[in-house]
């Protein structure tokens, strides 16, 4: 019965048998483990259900007791519903004693395990009940049912996991067996392959040591055997290579030896010839060895001589040497020195062989001839020649050297050329020279040396490094110096130099050298921060002297003046003659203008000293112009030009003096020219604008006109005011063009405003220069004609008061002519021109504009106040209109109103504005309420503070309120403990003028009360009592109103009186 099984077993491989037995073992073990685990799960589940039922029947009554007693069934239902969701609970049922029931069920738990598994597990559902009693009173019965389904599901999940583990174990077992067997057999296969490779001659073949212990030993022995085989083969190869290398080396030596070499056998045949022999014969080595006779092409005599020489060599102990001339294959005849030596055997006996060496001495003999020639050159050259070694020790010199320097050859050989140095050159000169020689191998230049007799002479020296001499290495080993005595040449050169740079008459530097000196002086001054004076000097009245005494006399005079100039200056300064009687002086490092003044005054005085030439005494003086660098930071030519300009001014000023160039004046002129050009360009480019400043009647509250003011909308600097550009165009044609543009633009603007309903006079400012033009009136008429819709009387021309005073006759007639066609005039800046009443009476200007300087200061300066009052009185007397310029504050307006000046303009009313903004501003403008008040009362100037008092305190209260609301707003200046300006009036002129009135007596206590409350408010604020501080504000406002009322009463009273 077991036979088929055995038969099947025999058919299995080792691997198969192992897999089958281990697989069965693991399967049986896994099944047993699964059975045990499932049995344990079932037991645990049953115990868990019993325990849970006991817990539920204990816990639920406790949870239900409270609502049960109270009869709160809703709560009971909630508790049961929540409890029923616990794991394992199938349902809960409550039945009261009275039969009332409550039910709660758990959602159905779906079975995940197969039915068969559930049956096999044998875990059943469970139920139990308990009585609900409190205080021995039974309320009802509670039944709890538990389901085993969750436990069965959980057990099924565990069983599945077990099965997975068993499957995985069997798989891993199979894999392990397979890998172990596979790795165990692989070393044997590798050993077999290694042996086959060695057999095929691959001595590098080795086998990796692995597998069991026996296998590892066997593989190690195999590898050791292969290593031994490889070592033997390597040694044999190296011995052969060494032999070949030695043979090759010897052959190379023989081939490239600079001589012919051959070896003769005992039978006189050639055993060897080297490459030199073959090259000389012009045949290959093979041909040479095969037929030496034809290769050498010896004639019979030569061949016999050679044979004899060979025989003689074989018989002699030493070398056999002969000299021969032979023609080589290249056709040239070479001088040869042939050495033959017989060869000996190992016992020292001649073996019949000889070796021959043929040395070519052709080149050596040619060189010896050349050296003899060069020695002749060395001996007879006119230039001095010095040959030194690398340590600069003189090796040889030629006879010319000895002739030039005065030293004999014996005196100089072994020394260095240093002994010739004159001391004229510094160490840097020689360092540079030797550096050049080191880097380029050559140097040449002029050197000043000293002869033996001590005289110094110039020589033109050329030094070259020599190489390939003694050392034969090709490296530098000598220096060759060749020089020529250039004493005569230098003298000639100096003469030419002097003629090129110096004036032939005075020997002073000429214009060429001056330019050079000036450049150097400028560089030095710039580098050292020094001042350089450039002076241009010219003799006064030289020409009459020349004419009177002749040119020779004039030349003598110039030489004498030159001497005086040189003597008057310091050694480092320069005096140059430009020609004629013109000189230029360069004074370096001028400490101060005073020092310069002293030097130049002395110089002029020296020149002016009488001169006696040929018995004639003459007096000449000089004028001088100078400029100082770097104050005048210009180039050389410009400095000379500036000095020349100053010379002209010195001459103009009366001669025999000097004049210094004014740098700032020059800059100013230049800047003005540039500014004028720029502004003219702006006019053409349309960059000019007119801004309009309103003129108002403060009493009537009306806008009564506008003043056109020019602005320049500069593309880079922004909007520029007239002060920044008008001065540049004064008294220039541009001045006229701008004036006409202003008139035309103002007329155009008036026309535009009239079109939108704004009909007001516009005044324009006209410059004195423009006004002085004869065609001013006709040009004005033409401009007006271009705008026929604009009434002429709407244009007003403002003229400076000072302008009218310069030529009152012309201005008066011009005004009258213009007035004849409607244009009126205003005198601008009135009060600054010292007009007399007579002038004022004559001038037909209708309006006077009080200068803003008086208006601005009139509240502080009594004199200014008096002037304003006076001008206002004058205008009333002469029936002219008056307008105040520079009204900046409300107080200015009040004061003017009290003085009868109702019209005003200024920043306090409006700043100049673009034309487009004007109509809107004019329609909205309202006079300050205080002006309305001031216009309604008439009081003396001394009572103006009363008017201001009300306004001041209203503002004061508002500021205080703002400060309370926002502490970043500044506290009113005199709020606490400060001095109120109103007190001055109250205690001063107010008390003396109105102290007896009832209204005045009301004001003082109210004023005190107002400030007392204000102080309290701030004290509250400082103490952090903001609510209390704010609470006092109504009281403060009431006090202020009461004081305002009292001020009004007093003002009315003053007006009536």
């Amino acid at each position: 019965m077991l036979r088929p099984i055995y038969a099947l077993w025999d058919r299995f491989s080792i691997v198969g048998r192992l897999l089958l037995t281990t697989g069965l073992g693991l399967l049986i073990a896994g099944a047993l483990l699964l059975q045990v685990a499932a049995w344990r799960d079932a037991t645990t589940a049953r115990e868990e259900l019993v325990r849970q039922l006991a817990d539920d029947l204990t816990m639920l009554p406790s949870l239900l007791a409270e609502p049960l007693i109270v009869g709160d069934y809703a709560t009971m239902r909630q508790i049961l519903g929540s409890y029923a969701h616990r794991r394992g609970i199938a349902s809960i049922h409550y039945r009261s004693k009275a039969g009332k029931t409550l039910d709660a069920r758990n959602p159905y738990v779906a079975p995940t395990a197969p039915t068969l598994f559930a049956v096999w597990l044998d875990v059943d559902d469970l139920k139990g009940e308990t009585q609900l009693e409190v205080g021995e009173r039974r309320y009802g019965t509670l039944e709890v049912r538990l389901t085993a389904q969750p436990a069965i599901n959980q057990s099924w999940e565990g069983a599945k996991f077990h099965l997975l583990i068993i499957g995985l174990s069997i798989g891993l077992d199979f894999l392990g067996i397979f890998l172990v067997l596979r790795t165990g057999l692989s070393p044997l296969r590798a050993l077999d392959a290694g042996a086959a490779k060695v057999a095929d001659g691959d001595l590098e073949a080795r086998v990796e040591i692995s597998g069991g212990r026996e296998l590892r030993r066997t593989i190690a022995a195999f590898n050791a055997m292969a290593d031994a085989l490889k070592r033997d083969a390597e040694q044999a190869r190296l011995a052969e290579e060494r032999l070949q290398e030695q043979s090759s080396t010897l052959r190379t030596i023989l081939d490239y030896a600079p001589m012919g070499i051959w070896l003769l056998n005992p039978d006189k045949s050639l055993a060897f010839v080297n490459k030199a022999c073959c090259d000389a014969a012009g045949v290959s080595e093979t041909d040479f060895l095969a037929a030496p006779g034809s290769a050498l092409a010896f004639d019979k005599e030569t061949a016999d001589r050679y044979r004899a020489a060979n025989e003689a060599t074989l018989l002699s102990d030493g070398p056999h040497i002969v000299k021969e001339k032979l023609q080589f294959a290249n056709g040239k005849t070479h001088d040869l020195e042939i050495i033959r030596v017989r060869l000996l055997d190992k016992d020292g006996a001649p073996n019949g062989r000889l070796i021959g060496l043929a040395i070519d001495v052709t080149a050596r003999r040619a060189a010896e001839a050349r050296i003899r020639l060069l020695a002749g050159v060395f001996e007879h050259a006119r230039e001095g020649i010095t040959l030194t070694d690398l340590q600069k020790r003189i090796v040889d010199v030629n006879p010319s050297f000895c002739k030039i320097t005065g030293y004999s050859r014996d005196e100089i050989v072994g020394r260095t050329p240093k002994m010739l140095q004159s001391g004229q050159h510094d160490a840097a000169f020689y360092a540079s020279m030797w550096e050049s020689i080191r880097t380029s191998g050559h140097w040449q230049g002029e050197v000043w040396n000293r002869r033996k007799n001590g005289t110094i002479y110039p020589e033109w020296l050329s030094i070259t490094t020599l190489s390939g001499g003694e050392s034969g290495s090709g490296e530098d080993d000598h220096y060759l110096g060749v020089f020529t005595d250039i004493t005569d040449l230098k003298a000639h050169q100096d003469r030419l130099e002097h003629l090129a740079h110096f004036d032939a008459l005075t020997h002073l530097p000429n214009r060429v050298l001056l330019a050079d000196r000036l450049q150097m002086a400028l560089s030095q001054a710039r580098r050292n921060g020094q001042t350089l004076a450039v002076c241009y000097l010219d003799l006064d009245e030289f020409k009459p002297v020349n004419d009177r005494y002749g040119h020779q006399f004039g030349d003598r005079l110039l030489i004498e003046v030159s001497n005086r100039l040189v003597q008057s200056l310091r050694g480092g300064d320069t005096v140059a003659r430009l020609g004629g009687d013109e000189f230029v002086l360069l004074l370096n490092d001028v400490e101060s203008v005073a020092e310069c003044d002293l030097a130049l005054t002395r110089l002029l005085r020296n020149i002016a000293e009488p001169l006696i030439i040929d018995g004639h005494s003459v007096n000449v003086s000089a004028s001088l112009g100078l400029t100082l660098f770097p104050e005048d930071d210009a180039d050389a030519d410009t400095l000379l030009r500036h000095a020349d300009q100053s010379l002209y001014l010195a001459k103009e000023a009366g001669r025999n003096r000097y004049h210094m160039f004014d740098v700032s004046h020059d800059h100013g002129l230049r800047a003005r020219r540039e500014s004028l050009a720029s502004f003219t360009n702006a006019l053409i480019s349309g960059e000019l604008r007119l801004y309009y400043q309103p003129k108002v009647d403060m009493r009537e509250g009306q806008v009564v006109g506008a003043e056109a003011l020019i602005r320049w909308q500069h593309p880079e600097r922004g909007l520029l005011s007239p002060a920044q550009f008008l001065s540049a165009i004064e008294n220039t044609p541009t001045d006229l063009a701008v004036g006409e543009w202003v008139i035309q633009e103002a007329l155009r603007q008036m026309q535009e405003w009239r079109a939108v309903g704004l009909d007001i006079p516009v005044s324009v400012n006209i410059s004195p220069y423009h006004l002085s033009k004869k065609d001013f009136v006709s040009r004005l008429a033409e401009l007006l004609a271009a705008y026929p819709d604009t009434p002429h009387h709407r244009l007003e021309i403002e003229v400076l008061e000072t302008t009218t005073l310069e030529d009152i006759g012309h201005v008066t007639s011009l005004m009258e002519e213009c007035q004849s066609f409607g244009v009126d005039f205003a005198l601008d800046d009135f009060g600054t021109g010292y007009s007399s009443l007579t002038y004022l009476k004559r001038l037909p200007a209708n309006t006077l504009k009080i200068d803003q300087t008086f208006i601005r200061d009139m509240l502080k300066d009594k004199d200014d106040l008096a002037i304003v009052e006076g001008i206002t009185g004058l205008t009333q007397a002469f029936h002219r209109t008056v307008i105040a310029e520079g009204v900046e504050t409300v107080e200015h307006g009040i004061m003017l109103l009290q003085m009868g000046c109702d019209q005003a303009q200024g920043y306090g009313i409006a700043r100049p504005m673009p034309a487009a903004d004007f109509p809107s501003w004019a329609s909205q403008w309202q006079p300050d309420p205080v002006w309305v008040l001031a216009a309604g009362v008439q009081c003396a100037a001394a009572d103006v503070p009363l008017l201001m008092g009300e306004m001041d305190h209203r503002r004061w209260v508002e500021e205080l309120k703002r400060h309370l609301a926002d502490t970043t707003v500044a506290l009113p200046s005199h709020v606490v403990g400060g001095h109120c300006p109103f007190d001055e009036w109250l205690n001063g002129s107010g008390a003396s003028r109105h102290g007896g009135t009832e209204a005045y007596q009301r004001i003082a206590p109210l004023h005190l009360q107002l400030h007392t409350i204000g102080t309290q408010v701030i004290n509250f604020r400082d103490a952090g009592c903001h609510r209390e501080a704010s609470a006092r504000i109504p009281e403060l406002e009431a006090a202020n109103e009461a004081m305002a009322d009292a001020i009004h009463t007093l003002l009315i009273s003053i007006s009536m009186t």
Partner: protein, 290 residues
């Protein structure tokens, strides 16, 4: 809803009375089937209340054959409302003497045996508070606005001394003591009986700042709709508990449940015994009772 409630109650009472009359006519001893509601003031949790009363009521039921169904309200105020509306056939409460409830004319049957109770204002023994004036403006715990001993009496005293406090309501007296214990209030108003039971059970000591004149403890009273024959049986059963072993056993069980100290049991009483209560409730300054 009060009219409707009253109607329902009337019908229920009428049915009860009718049933009683019919049973009397039938001559049978069938009163054992009669069920009466027994409302108690929830001074404690419902569970403790049930553990106390159920053994006593079971004894009475066994003795008389009348089923007494324990009615425990969620709060004192709910109990007060039920008393005012006459919802309980039998009530254990002082609130029956309030003017609002007097129209129901509950009649006192028995009262607890032992000393009278006092209203007390207490603080924790460790508290630094030594006098009532120190409670001015502070939190004081009360059971609710409907408790007489635990609210009306102490609050009346505070008002008469012009000591204004911030009342914090805890639902029942032990709740007020619990709040005092955890520091949510500075003092608590309780009855001396509840406080002593609490100290006995929880071991917490209190300092009494003030206490009232003695009052009889809560009476058990019957609504007029309950026939007198029945009320008499019930009165006898309660009063005779201490005379019978089963009664004493029931009282012991009840006392153990809440830690009550002897003497246990009840004595017969009448409405006249509670004249002081009625007088107080008529004249008190506390007008916000519920």
């Amino acid at each position: 809803m009060p009219p409707l409630l009253s109607l329902k109650r009337f019908l229920r009472t009428a049915a009860l009375v009718g049933c009683g009359v019919w049973l009397s006519i039938a001559g049978g001893n069938s009163l054992a089937a009669t069920t009466l509601s027994f409302g108690v003031v929830p001074h404690r949790s419902a569970l403790l209340t049930a553990r106390y009363w159920n053994p006593i009521l079971a004894y009475v039921e066994k003795k008389t054959g009348i089923v007494l169904h324990l009615e425990v309200s969620r709060s004192v105020s709910a109990n007060a409302t039920a008393v005012e509306n006459g919802e309980y056939d039998l009530a254990q409460s002082l609130l029956i003497f309030r003017p609002k409830a007097q129209r129901q004319s509950y009649r006192v049957l028995v009262r607890p045996r032992g000393a009278e109770i006092r209203s007390q204002l207490v603080v924790l023994e460790s508290s630094p508070v030594k006098s009532l004036t120190e409670l001015r403006g502070r939190e004081v715990g009360f059971t609710g606005r409907s408790g007489m001993i635990a609210y009306a009496v102490p609050m009346d005293n505070l008002m008469r001394q012009e000591i204004s406090v911030t009342p914090v309501f805890a639902g029942n007296q032990e709740g007020a003591l619990g709040q005092l214990r955890v520091g949510e209030t500075l003092a608590a108003a309780v009855s001396s009986q509840v406080k002593e039971a609490y100290t006995e059970r929880e071991g917490v000591q209190f300092r009494v700042l003030w206490e009232s004149k003695p009052f009889h403890d809560l009476p058990i009273a019957a609504h007029p709709r309950v026939p007198e024959s029945i009320t008499r049986q019930i009165q006898n059963a309660f009063a005779g508990m201490t005379d019978e072993p089963e009664g004493i056993k029931a009282l012991n069980i009840a006392a153990n449940a809440i830690g009550q100290k002897p003497p246990y049991g009840f004595v017969k009483s009448t409405t006249a015994d509670y004249a002081r209560h009625a007088d107080f409730l008529r004249n008190t300054l506390v007008k916000d009772t519920e």
